[in-house]
Amino acid sequence: MPTPAEFDQMIKSGEVIESPREMTPEYLRELKHTLIVSGDTELISAPAYYLAAKRAPSINAFMTGIAIIQDELAHAHIAYHILEELGEDQEKLIFSRDPKSFRYPYAFDVPLDSWTELVVANGMYDQAGFCLLGDIHDKCSYGPWKRGLNKVMAEENFHLRNGRTWMKRISAAGGSAKEELQRAVDWMFPLSVEWFGLPDNLKMHSTQLEYRLKGLTNDQLRQWWLSTVVPYCEQIGINVPAHKETRDGKDVWELDYPFPCEFDAQAKRWDFKQPISWDDVLVRWRDRGPRNAEMVAMFQEEFHKFRKTHHKNGS
């Protein structure tokens, strides 16, 4: 195992880390944490998307929805598999953790109740995933993960395509279909903005950046996301509470509402007149949202039931 000074030097010189033998315990801890967030996010998106994909308007749309879910499960598998190689017990991670200790973005705790909400999730949540994973794919100092993401990026593109194609189609249909789309965007856009976490001025120190587990800061990732989502929504005639400004010759995306602010998860409604603190947001995240327990139970319950019957039969 390298000394902390030797390890710092390896990271600084751009070396790719290939096995636990080459890392310090601090790096291992941070890498595991980052992988758990990634695995949990992909895993929980499966039940979240499934509950909405059931409402697909055609057989082909249903197949697309199901294929996306299959992709997400495969991406989760990549992260958990690497965690196993790093000494974690995959089965325990997935099936024995308390729902509240899963580390995925709060957005997935708010139910997707229609095909329209599912395709907005594909257009916005998967775009957030694309930015986060694209950055890791580009910069990550841990080789096995960086390489594992090669295919993930192509597949996330397919999810985005589904989101964007359908959003455009629904918007073009006009009338109540377009109104439903606008309502979905109204609550899902700010949740996606929140996805990237604390703003840089409140996050004094990032171990993930220091270890090159990722390359971009929270605000840089958020800007990247805004630079793709805002123009697309404007192009298809959907309103979003953000706009572009030019500052020092550079494009900067500004939000048109206080960030962060109050969210009613049951009503799926933001109160832009009610700014809150990041401490309040962290409390909401920690308490988790309406569908957390139900979604985790979706894959945990059957596992334990099967375990029990299996055991009873003495096999």
Binding site: M63, N150, K151, N157, F158, R161, T165
Partner: protein
């Protein structure tokens, strides 16, 4: 003209894999009469989750060609697609992406 149409479809990427439709070997035939293009096309699997996107992309790309006013796509399943239909370029693209073909 059909040669130009084949070249046009060679610009249409599969939505899931980094390979174009011609190198993937899913385009079975292109016919053109008086600006009406007929395409025989298959999918790599009957449950292809990207089929609607592919049909849309084929239509959209061919309609951008001069002299094309209508595109009819026939989805065919005979002969079934197998990996033997990949061109060498398609094979190389998929292999470099990490797919065994």
């Amino acid at each position: 003209m059909t040669q130009r149409l084949w070249a046009a479809l060679a610009e249409v990427q599969d939505p899931e894999m980094p390979v174009n439709l011609v190198d993937l070997g899913v385009v079975y035939g292109i016919d053109e009469h008086d600006g009406v293009v007929e395409v025989d096309l298959t999918f790599t699997a009957m449950g292809c989750p990207a089929s609607e996107f592919i049909l849309e992309d084929v239509r959209e790309r061919l309609l951008r060609e001069d002299g094309v006013r209508e595109v009819r796509v026939n989805v065919v399943w005979d002969p079934p697609w197998t990996s033997a239909r990949l061109t060498q370029a398609g094979r190389d693209a998929l292999e470099s992406w990490g797919l065994a073909v």
